[in-house]
Amino acid sequence: MDEGSAVSEQVPLVDYLVLGDDPHLVAKECTTCGARFFDRRNACASCSATEFRPAPVATEGEVRAFTIVSMAAPGIPVPFVAALVDCDGTSVRGNLVNVPPDPEHVTLGMKVKLATVPVGTDSTGTEAIGFGFEPREES
């Protein structure tokens, strides 16, 4: 789409991540039962209906479960924090970022918000942007 262009572009790590001024995740929401999914769908796993609409997911949430992975497949930098984040009723899988990966700094119930993270740049200069969740200041 930008053949020969020298302008640096960004692509999202996954197709459910929307970049721009207000980065957020978009789920596929079943129009019949409201179940939300992040992958390409054949039908709804909850009610088997086949119609979906895009549903923006809240960018703030709470850590419902986490683990600090110290041993992973070759090529994966460790340690990192993998978590299940409850974003206003929608469960999201993501890493916890911008926080030391230890149990003193990462806690169950921790309030977090979506953050974008650079993944890398390909041979055409396009940068891939991923996401994680970072601690949110308590008010």
Binding site: V14, D15, A65, T67, V69, I76, P77, L108, T126
Partner: protein
């Protein structure tokens, strides 16, 4: 008066551990021939064979086994159902007998897993020169480690942590103490891969794999096989008094998959399908958790054992921490759990596990468990989870004969 009950007539597990000089067929043969001998039968008597070997699921382990110990032409079902493969094989044989298709069914599960290391999705695939969306998430590169974890220790760590978030009371130390129990139990089991008692300090200071699971809190990769022969009630009544006395009644055989739950595609839900399986099993058996003299449950990680106390109804909902703290799951406790040492020390040769845990329960119900015998055991429950997910629950009862 015959019923449609099915009985375990013969059963065997090999020693779990490193079997450098034996391949999967050797181990499957050893378990199968010993289970047949235990039943007082030969391959010629068997009407159906269900076999599992998860890491080599396309190879037709059932027919390979037949080619070593008896090609009798009977139907073979090669089954694969993650860590529930053994229980699935057993249930397949039970269903065939229950359906009246044959008098005797045989189930076998085998795995060669020594030195397999961390079981995970895969090493990161080679990246192309340019980002291109791929797969069901339109991902431009591998997601393991970038969007959560696909490692088993990491997934099951989160399962335990989620329980802690919901009900409170969990800690690194609590999970480590569950592991301490199972390693202590293993010292009485000569068939376990590891039989060393470990102190809480040793467990907590061992190599961290995925917090809060350290290495001894993870199931042990090892080699092993287990096999069982099942028989119908009407045929059992024609057999010797000794066979009838040692037969163990399958009071419930249940297999479930994971029903949709809000977060189940984010973090696998190993709870709902276990609760469903347990409820169905108790109803079929006409028994409840209070009737259980021992339980072998799927402690693939210490964090998993905790949630299954609750899922199997061994405690009040939310009461798993108090249940453990009371000492109930130690072998001297109210409901001994994993007196075999569990997957953390007995080992977890995947496809063998769902039959080996039945062997453990049968061993106690027959009064043949030696030093680790739970005295007077009459009823036991065996549980496995295969991520993906599948859950097998079997309730077994001592023969009245």
């Amino acid at each position: 008066m015959a019923t449609d009950d099915v009985w375990i007539l013969g059963i065997h597990m090999t020693k779990f551990g490193k079997h450098l000089d034996k391949d999967a067929i050797d181990l499957a043969s050893e378990a199968t021939l010993a289970a047949l001998a235990d039943a007082g039968l030969t391959m010629k008597d068997v009407g159906v064979l269900a076999a599992g070997n998860l890491m080599n699921a396309g190879a037709g382990i059932g027919q390979q086994l037949q080619k070593q110990i008896g090609q009798t032409g009977i139907p073979v079902y090669n089954v694969a159902n993650a860590c529930a493969t053994g229980a699935t094989a057993l249930r397949t044989a039970i269903m065939a007998v229950k359906a009246g298709e044959c008098d005797y069914g045989l189930a076998v599960g085998v795995e060669k897993l020594s030195g397999a290391g961390l079981l995970t999705g895969a090493a990161r695939r080679k990246e192309g020169d340019t980002w291109a969306p791929d797969g069901r998430y339109g991902a431009v590169t591998a997601l393991d480690g970038r969007v959560g974890t696909e490692t088993m220790p990491g997934v099951f760590a989160q399962v335990g942590m989620e329980y802690g978030h919901k009900y409170g009371g969990t800690s690194f130390e609590l999970f480590a103490r569950i592991s301490e129990k199972n390693h202590a139990h293993s010292t009485l089991n000569p068939k376990a891969a590891y039989t060393k008692r470990m102190s809480l300090d040793e467990i907590m200071n061992d190599v961290m794999i995925a917090y809060p699971n350290t290495r001894p809190m993870c199931s042990a990769n090892c080699d092993g096989a287990a096999a069982a022969v099942v028989v119908s009630d009407s045929v059992l009544k024609t057999l010797s008094k000794e066979q009838q006395r040692r037969a163990v009644k399958v009071s419930a055989s249940v297999l479930t998959s994971d029903p949709w739950q809000e977060s189940c595609q984010i973090l696998p839900d190993v709870n709902t399908l276990t609760r469903n399986a347990a409820e169905q099993a108790y109803e079929k058996a006409g028994l409840g958790p209070d009737d259980l003299d021992l339980v072998e449950l799927h402690d693939c990680f210490a964090t998993a054992e905790l949630v299954h106390y609750d899922n199997l109804g061994l405690c009040e909902p939310g009461g798993a921490v108090d249940f453990f703290e009371s000492g109930a799951s130690w072998r001297e406790g109210k409901t001994p759990v994993n007196v075999s040492g569990g997957l953390e020390s007995k080992g977890h040769p995947i496809a063998a596990t769902g039959i080996a845990n039945i062997w453990e329960v049968c061993h106690h119900l027959r009064g043949e468990a030696g030093d680790r015998q739970i005295e007077g055991a009459k009823v036991g429950l065996a549980h496995v989870i295969g991520l993906g997910s599948a859950c097998g629950v079997h309730i077994l009862e001592k023969s009245a004969a």
